[in-house]
Each structure stands twice: as C-alpha cells, then as structure tokens.
C-alpha cells in the first residue's frame, strides 16, 4: 500500500467484506416484514396509478415513460460507483422499491399532516412559506433512511463499507424521486383541468427532471445512506460516535432538502434564466459537492482495500501493477477501456471491461476468504489471452495526454447539459 493510499484510508471507514446473502435470507423475519411492507406500498401506489390511468391514460403513460428514462443515467452512475464490490441486483431493486413504494406511501399522508401541524401550531402564513421546507424533508428523509436500515436488517453482510451505504441510500432515493415525480406530473395534469393532455407532464419533467433532478432525493438518500453505512461498518468506534455520525449524515440530508425546498433566494436574485440558474446552483451545488467528496473518499477507501487483496496474488497474468492502479479509480477504469478501443478496437474494449469485472470479483472473493477462486481466475486469464491476441495485452490507462479526448468529451457533455438546462428554464418562462 502506498503512502498516499494509507493516508486516504485513514480518513474514512474500513471495508468489512461479507458473504452473499443466499437462501439464508428467507429465514430472517425482517426479510418477510420488509417484503410485506413493499407489497403493501405496491398495492397503495398501484391504486393511485390505477386512478390516474383511468382518468388520464395518455398523460400517465407519458409520465411513467419519461421518468423511467430519467432513472437510466442515475442507474448507470450508481452501478459504475459500485463497480468493485457489486451489490446484488435483488437488493438494489428492494432498495429502489422501498423508496418508490414504501417511503412514498408513508410520506404522502405524513408530510401533509406535518404541513397542517405547522399551520395549526404556527400560522397559515408560516405553513405557506416554510411548510414544504419543514414537512417534506422531515418525513421523507426519515422514511427513506429507514429503507437503508431495512437493507441492513435483511442483508447485513452486504453493507460492508460506507460506499455500500451510499449506493443503497441513493437507490432508495432514486425510487422515491421517480415515483414522486410521476405523482407530481399527474397532479399537474389534474390541476390544469384540460383533460388527458401531456403538456403538464412535459413541464414537470423539465422542472423536476432537468432543473432539480441532479440535486434531489438520490443525492439526499446517498448522504443519509453514508451515515448508516458508517454506523454499520465502523465497529471499532464507540457506539455513540457511530450513532452521532449517522445522525449527522441524516441531518445533512435533511438540511440539503430543507435548503432546496425553502423560500430562501426565491426572489433574491431577480428574474430571468440567469437568476434562476444562479438560485439552482446556490441551493443545489453545496450538497452536491459535499456528497461527491464523501463518495470519492468512500470509493477510494474501498478501492484501496480491494487493491491490497489483489496485490497479494502477485500474478501478472491475473493483474499487473499498472492494471491495479487503473482498477482503483472509476475514471482510470473508463480510460483503460477507451485506450483499448482506440488501440485495438471494440473487442478489446469489451475484453478490458470483462477483465476488470473478473479482477474486481476476484478481489471480493479473496476478501471473503473464498477457497475456490478458479472461476474468476479462469475468466481473467481468458480475457488476458483475448487481449494478447488483439495486440493489447495490458488493460492500462495511459498517463499524460492520453485521456484528452475523454476530457474534451466531458467538457462537451457538461456544456450540452448547461444548454439543455438553459433551454428548459427558458421554456418554463424563466428567460
């Protein structure tokens, strides 16, 4: 382990590898209780969806289609984040279902009641200005965090790093975000009073999907999930510290959500698209940066841990030192794939991806103390032979000017995203 990696390891929580949940899961009472909660939430949301589908079939199908599409980039980002120690798809689906079915089912009446309580104990003016900022985050962040707790109860061994908490928290948030957006879109259709029209759905999609999609429930959920991850894996710390950190993370999610929903800066920066963009950035960027830093630290810690496991193999046919370095970072993994494609074509790119997957799986199995590593070793060697045959034997990320195209591509994508954001704001009347 290098001095740099030791340092960054010291900063974050350790990794505690666990075994696959397997069939033992069904012997846990929590599994059946969580499943029952998801089923009850599913029935409740199906009734809501059925009512909308009966009244506004076209708008409902459009909303489901658009917001489901919005989930795709989030899903890919989370899966890349989760590259080294992949979470079981069934548990990710369970986390997503909790967010979309259980947390929403509880939050709809809970938030409305808390908003009413603000009006009763304060005043209608207070509720009109601050009700959304107080009620929504309080009920929703708790309901979503309980989703990560549910995953811990169902499959404790799968939450073995802070990053796992981030991934499950973000998945809960993603499920919540998609279903909430669909409900909002159909509420806008009903409010418009023009029958089964899709314009309110498109407007909601631009507003909630593009303008506030990045700094929304997925982000808040990731932050709270990191806290639960810390609580679970940092067994070496006193209980009160772990609980304190978890509560601080949930409070961070609440505060980010509160800031986003609050009337602060509502009129402070004037009118027009630029002012609206500035408000979005002021309110959304601080939590986004905080989560990105947190995720980076948690990812580095996990990467360091698994790199140490792989280094023990000392077999360059399975992984070379340069590949080990590439495997530790998402951008270097992607650069290695890009480098393979430019040097040896698409087949080489696919082979590098499969090699990286095999190496990551090997690291996880090593950490679990699995005795039979044969399947993953064979897969790594097979991909190595394919790469050698293609004239690109090592899955490395070139140093220096190599990744400039990827940098240019990232700059272009960011510029395109800002242009789309601008167009969305202008379409919504901000310009």
């Amino acid at each position: 382990m290098t001095a740099e990696s030791r340092l960054r390891s010291d900063r974050t929580a350790p990794v505690q590898p666990g075994a696959d949940p397997g069939a033992g899961l069904i012997r846990l009472p929590a599994f059946w209780i969580v499943l029952a909660l998801v089923a009850a939430g599913g029935v409740r949301m199906a009734l809501v969806a059925g009512r909308f589908l009966g009244t506004y079939p076209l708008a409902t199908l459009t909303a489901i289609g658009l917001f489901a599409l919005l989930a795709v980039p989030f899903w890919f980002v989370l899966r890349e984040l989760d590259f080294l120690e992949r979470e079981p798809p069934a548990l990710l689906a369970l986390a997503c279902a909790w967010g979309g079915l259980v947390a929403t089912t509880v939050s709809i009446p809970g938030s409305a009641a808390l908003d009413d309580l603000v009006a009763k104990l304060g005043s209608p003016h207070l509720a009109a200005d601050w009700g959304a900022a107080l009620a929504g985050p309080t009920v929703e962040e708790i309901a979503k965090t309980l989703g990560v707790v549910a995953i811990v109860l169902v499959a404790r061994a799968q939450v073995n790093s802070v990053l796992d908490g981030v991934v499950y928290g973000a998945m809960v948030g993603l499920g919540f975000q998609i279903i909430e957006d669909i409900v909002y879109a159909l509420g806008a259709v009903a409010l418009a009073g023009r029958g089964d029209h899709i314009e309110p759905v498109i407007t909601t999609f631009l507003l909630r999907g593009f303008l506030s999609g990045v700094w929304s429930h997925t982000l808040f959920g990731a932050l709270a999930g990191a806290g639960i991850g810390y609580l679970v894996v940092r067994a070496d710390r006193p209980w009160r510290i772990r609980l304190g950190v978890a509560m601080l993370a949930v409070f961070g999610a609440w505060a980010s959500h509160f800031l986003w929903n609050s009337p602060l800066l509502r009129d402070g920066l004037g009118n027009g698209a630029l002012a609206l963009l500035a408000v979005l950035v002021c309110k959304g960027l601080p939590p986004l940066l905080l989560v990105l830093l947190l995720v980076r630290a948690a990812h580095d810690r996990e990467a360091d841990y698994y790199a140490v496991q792989l280094a023990k193999l000392d077999d360059h046919e399975l992984i070379t030192p340069a590949e080990l370095e590439a495997l530790k970072s998402g951008s270097r993994r992607a650069t290695a794939r890009w480098h393979a494609r430019t040097r040896a074509g698409l087949r080489a790119r696919a082979a590098v991806r499969r090699l990286q997957r095999a190496q990551a799986r090997l690291a996880v199995e090593l950490s679990r103390g699995t005795t039979d590593l044969g399947p993953w070793q064979r897969e790594a060697r097979r991909q190595r032979r394919i790469l050698a045959a293609l004239g690109h034997p090592e899955a490395v990320a070139p140093d220096g000017k190599g990744p400039w195209r990827r940098t240019a591509s990232a700059v272009f994508t960011t510029a395109l995203a800002i242009a789309v954001l601008w167009a969305a704001i202008s379409t919504l009347g901000g310009g």
């Binding site: 939050s107 009446p109 809970g110 009641a113 309580l117 009763k120 708790i142 549910a150 109860l153 009903a190």
Partner: protein, 180 residues
Amino acid sequence: MNLLGALSLVLALAGLGVGLPALDRALPADRPVPTDRPYAIGGGVTVVPPPGSRIDVTGTRPTDDAGTALFRLGPVRYLITVRRFEGDLATAANGLRQRITGTPGYQVTGTELTVATGSGLAGLQGGYTAPGRGGRYAVFVAGGRTIEVTVSGADLDLGRTLPAIDASTRTLRYDPADTG
C-alpha cells in the same frame, strides 16, 4: 434481534404514516376570523368572510403570488383559490368544471350564469352534485390570475348558508398593489 429491528421499522413507519395524521386530526383546525373586514387570500385578492364563518388553517395558504383560503360555516366548506393563469374566463371555467367532474361521482348541474362582484370582477357561476352533497362553483379572472370559488355541503346546510356565502363572494376584490 432481527425481528425486533424489523418491528421497530414498522413502528417508525406507522409513526410517520399514521401517527402524524392522527396527531393532526387531534388538533382543531378552525380559528375565528373577523367577518367585518377583508381577508387577504393571496396574490392580491381579498374577500370579506361570511358572518359566523371560521377559517380552516389546513386549507389556507396565503402567499404574495397565489393562495387559498378555506372558510367553514358549520359543515359547509367555502374554498377560494387564487393562482397564476394565462387565458380567458371561459377557459378558466372549463378547467374548473373538468376538475370537479374528474372526481368520481361529481357532476356539473344546470347552466352557468354570469356573476359580478362589487369591485367589478366578472365571473361565471354554476352548480354540481356529489354523492350525499351538493355544491356551487364560481370563477373569476383578474390580473393574470384565476379566482376559483367552490362551496360544498349537504343540501339542507347549503340552502341555509348560501345567501351569506353569495354575499361574501360579491366582496372579492383584486388589488395589484398587494401582489408579490
């Protein structure tokens, strides 16, 4: 331990989804409201509440730009909603009708009549029925906003309170100086 954890989870969810609404229902929602002077609904719109009415704070959300005010006269609900709107009176009335009939069992009855407030706002008014209750709606357009009035209650209660509510509706006033 696992069972205990799962049951705690259920308890926490119940607290949010059932406990909070129960606590909300346990606290009274209506408050006295002065009926001798205009009440600011939001978006620059005011109304003089009917005598004997109380304001329901759960349905009242005044802001600079828009707002709602829910008054209660016994079991009769008198709701006024102000929101931004780009269109004419006919479109606004059509939208309100569609929302009323979008609720299962709700039907618009009779023909719409033109109405006017004391401050000169022109509007359209109609009636609707629902299982076990009846209702009245009116809609006005002023200053890029719609002012929607819906009244609902049992027929007997409506018959008794509608004259006072009609008189209140005629006091609706839009003043651009009060908008945000």
